[in-house]
């Protein structure tokens, strides 16, 4: 049990700190975009990512040949920790650099790597991920967006994506689309790069309970994609998507405190109220939820140890989100019970309480996570699947029949 750095890590940490001392005066604030000032926000954060890239702190784990540092995931975590400690934000394009760039490195053509990776790293071009669809929530392979092959080898894209972060200022998106409906659903998808300013692409913000529009819906109406925009083989998109999801899992390994759900933060809100601080109901509730949050912190260190040893955190790491959401909901309930309606009127607690219901479903509903962990970690059997071996084009009819029986 040792939470200290190895000598190499300590050296790298010093390097990060030194750079931060020299550059943090240029850093923007931590807060999100203010209403009406979204563009300004993006401009400032692009510049900061560019400065980070020039310093070698964007794409830390990317191979050197693509502008990265060729370092390990622990070094990436050190960068994150030091930036957090310094109170400055990290990169703007977390999804591009953390998940989509690595996917292109793994499956893209040389031309694609040449063309797209450097501008991504420098935030000249921000990316978005176009996987989820309204009708395919938990079941990603159920997507319906179609890419139809044209005579000239190009593709036409039709359909709707949802939960797309950053779509409104992204230059490109990585999109999963169905290219063959006559095979089973996992076998007929392909992955493409789509320019977000192409004709036939429409972006609509999705406002959440908090009032923010963190996500977008993106509509495609015969949008044109050139032949060379495919990533990986035709009808081989599912494997490419799994790569992206693997990098997502690695990115989550960094720990559960990234949402800011810290026991001491919540305790402070209670400590301000002398009556609450002495109330046994309040104290029991605080003690229990703080226990959960501390468990998460130290679970995070266990995951970092796995990563340091060259592995991935096991599938049970997904349960961290369940615990984080549960404990934060309990904290929001407790704090608003103590403060009263004033807690809902505005400010951090109102935001927290509003944000959590969305977070609960983000990245897979709790039910799906529990299925996944039960099957992969505990070895429990899957549920009977009615869609096994059925061509995608026949699924709808099957569903209708199932509903009747």
């Amino acid at each position: 049990m040792d939470l200290n750095d190895t000598p190499e890590q300590a050296e790298y940490r010093t390097k990060v700190r030194t750079w931060l001392d020299a550059h943090k005066a240029n850093a923007p604030g931590l807060e999100g975009p203010q209403p009406g000032h979204e563009e300004e926000f993006v401009t400032v954060r692009r510049a900061w990512q560019r400065e980070m890239a020039e310093g070698g702190f964007a794409g830390v784990t990317w191979p050197a040949e693509f502008g990265g540092q060729g370092l390990g995931p622990l070094d990436q975590v050190i960068v994150g920790q030091e930036f957090q400690a310094a109170g400055v934000p990290g990169i703007l394009d977390v999804i591009g650099i953390g998940m989509l760039g690595p996917t292109i490195i793994a499956h893209g053509t040389d031309e694609q790597k040449q063309r797209y990776l450097a501008p991504m790293l420098h935030a000249d071009e921000v990316w978005c991920q176009l996987f989820s669809e309204p009708a395919a929530g938990s079941d990603l392979a159920g997507i319906q967006t179609r890419a139809a092959l044209q005579e000239d080898g190009s593709w036409k894209l039709t359909g709707q994506k949802v939960w797309t972060t950053n779509a409104h200022f992204a230059s490109y998106g990585l999109i999963l689309a169905r290219t063959n409906s006559e095979v089973t659903k996992h076998k007929g998808m392909s992955m493409f790069i789509v320019p977000m300013d192409a004709e036939g692409v429409e972006i609509r913000p999705l406002r959440q309970i908090t009032g923010e529009a963190e996500f977008n819906e993106v509509f495609f109406d015969d949008a044109h994609i050139p032949a060379d925009a495919i990533v990986g083989p035709v009808d081989g998109g599912w494997m490419v998507a799994l790569t992206t999801l693997l990098f997502e899992r690695l990115a989550i390994g960094g720990g559960s405190e990234s949402f800011g759900y810290r026991a001491d933060r919540f305790a402070k809100a209670i400590a301000d109220d002398p009556v609450a601080s002495a109330d046994s109901d309040v104290r029991h509730r605080l003690g229990k939820l703080a226990t959960d949050l501390l468990a998460l912190r130290y679970t995070g260190y266990r995951h970092l140890t796995d990563i340091e040893r060259g592995g991935l955190p096991g599938s049970e790491a997904a349960l961290g989100k369940v615990t984080a959401v549960k404990a934060a909901i309990e904290a929001g309930d407790l704090i608003a019970d103590v403060i009263g309606p004033e807690a809902l009127a505005e400010g951090e607690w109102s935001y927290l309480i509003s944000f959590l219901p969305g977070l609960k479903s983000a990245g897979g509903t709790e039910e799906i996570l529990r299925n996944m962990v039960g099957e992969r970690v505990l070895g429990l059997p899957t549920e009977p699947r009615l869609d096994k071996g059925v061509p995608f084009s026949e699924l709808k009819a099957l569903e209708r029949e199932g509903a009747k029986s």
Partner: protein
């Protein structure tokens, strides 16, 4: 043995549903978050239906119905998230007298109770909701016929003509009817989170009023009626949330099956049903006690508050979860029910104080001698 609604009560329910169906109050609840003027004015609806005088005897121009009837109306309002100012008005009509009572009953004037929590087995004081924090504020003071004090988060005070304040004189609570327009009254409207609830912080600075004849028991009754009305609103919202959740669970497919066929979804919907039916039984308990067993009404109204509050907490979150991500966006109405749940839970002492009172009533009946602080 007859523990069901009467035919008259079912008619009342249906009439309320019709009357409230004329405006899209759920849509208005959304619009009002940006622009409170988008809220429909439902006072005329209430007046036309006779709800303003629901609890007032016919002799004073009311319709002379009981607490259960009022709860049924409140439930229909809750189902539609309707901005209906009856939680303030109806309890006020229980304490008002004379001409003012007739004006309130007719709907010519609006009333609002400045609610005060009765003493508990642990605390002798009459208290009111503080602006913030767990320490409750003392109820306003009555001295020389004038009332001074602050009451926070008062439902429906914004547009009230008459405030019925609970003020303490020599340790005894008095209900005082106060004209809202006078100089000694400052009403600061506040809207927090759920825009359909128009609340206010009320400051009384030697406000003049008419000291009413209501006894401490009458005043405690008004508090309990307010508890039962907010509970009934919550029950109505739960019924709507369940209906919408079930509908979606039948429409939506994943992995080739309707999501309502999965145990996780099915059992969660059944949990809403369980909590809802329990809350409904507690509404009947409160209604029956209000009519036939007044000595049990405090207990009954507060169990109803606790049960309905728990049901709405659960149902509002389940409504979002069942819908997956979209349930947490403004594409969907679920956030409106969520906001309603969040705010309702913290009003009028909050569901926590209601649970505490349930325990206090039972412990006192069991002969407890609590070791106070």
């Amino acid at each position: 043995m007859n523990f069901e609604l009467s035919d008259e009560q079912r008619s009342l329910q249906e009439a309320a549903r019709d009357a409230l169906g004329r405006a899209d109050t759920v849509e208005a609840a959304r619009d009002a978050l940006e622009d409170p003027s988008k809220l429909p004015n439902l006072w005329d609806t209430a007046t036309a239906a006779g709800w303003t005088g629901l609890l007032v005897s016919e002799e004073h121009g009311g319709v002379g119905l009981g607490p259960l009837d009022a709860m049924l109306i409140a439930a229909e309002c809750g189902r539609r998230l309707a901005p209906m100012p009856l939680i303030g008005h109806l309890p006020a009509t229980l304490l008002a007298e004379g001409d003012e009572l007739e004006q309130l009953a007719a709907g010519d004037k609006r009333g609002a109770l400045l609610p005060a929590m009765p003493p508990t087995d642990l605390d002798d004081a009459w208290t009111v909701d503080p602006q913030s924090g767990l320490r409750r504020s003392p109820a306003p003071a009555l001295s020389g016929g004038k009332v001074t004090g602050r009451v926070h988060w008062v439902p429906d005070a914004t547009d009230a003509d008459y405030l019925v304040a609970i003020a303490v004189e020599n340790g005894t609570p008095k209900a005082v009817l106060i004209e809202a327009s006078q100089a000694g009254v400052k009403i600061e409207p506040v809207i927090a989170y759920d825009a359909t609830r128009q609340m206010a912080h009320v400051e009384l600075d030697a406000a003049e009023g008419k000291v009413l004849g209501a006894s401490a028991d009458d005043i405690a009754l008004a508090w309990s009626v307010a508890q039962s009305l907010i509970a009934a609103e919550s029950l109505g919202a739960v019924e709507e949330a369940l209906e919408r959740s079930v509908k979606y669970a039948l429409e939506r497919y994943t992995f080739g099956r309707q999501i309502g066929s999965y145990q996780a979804v099915k059992h969660s919907l059944v949990e809403i049903l369980r909590l809802m039916e329990n809350a409904r039984s507690l509404m009947y308990f409160a209604g029956w006690a209000g009519e036939s067993a007044p000595e049990q009404f405090t207990l009954a109204a507060h169990t109803f508050r606790v049960g309905a509050g728990e049901a709405l907490d659960y149902a509002a979150r389940a409504l979002i979860s069942v819908h997956g991500g979209i349930g947490a966006t403004w594409e969907h109405d679920a956030p409106l029910f969520f906001r309603r749940a969040q705010l309702s839970r913290r009003l009028l002492g909050g569901t926590g104080a209601a649970a505490d009172r349930v325990a206090g009533e039972l412990l006192a009946a069991a002969g407890a001698t609590p070791a106070k602080g």
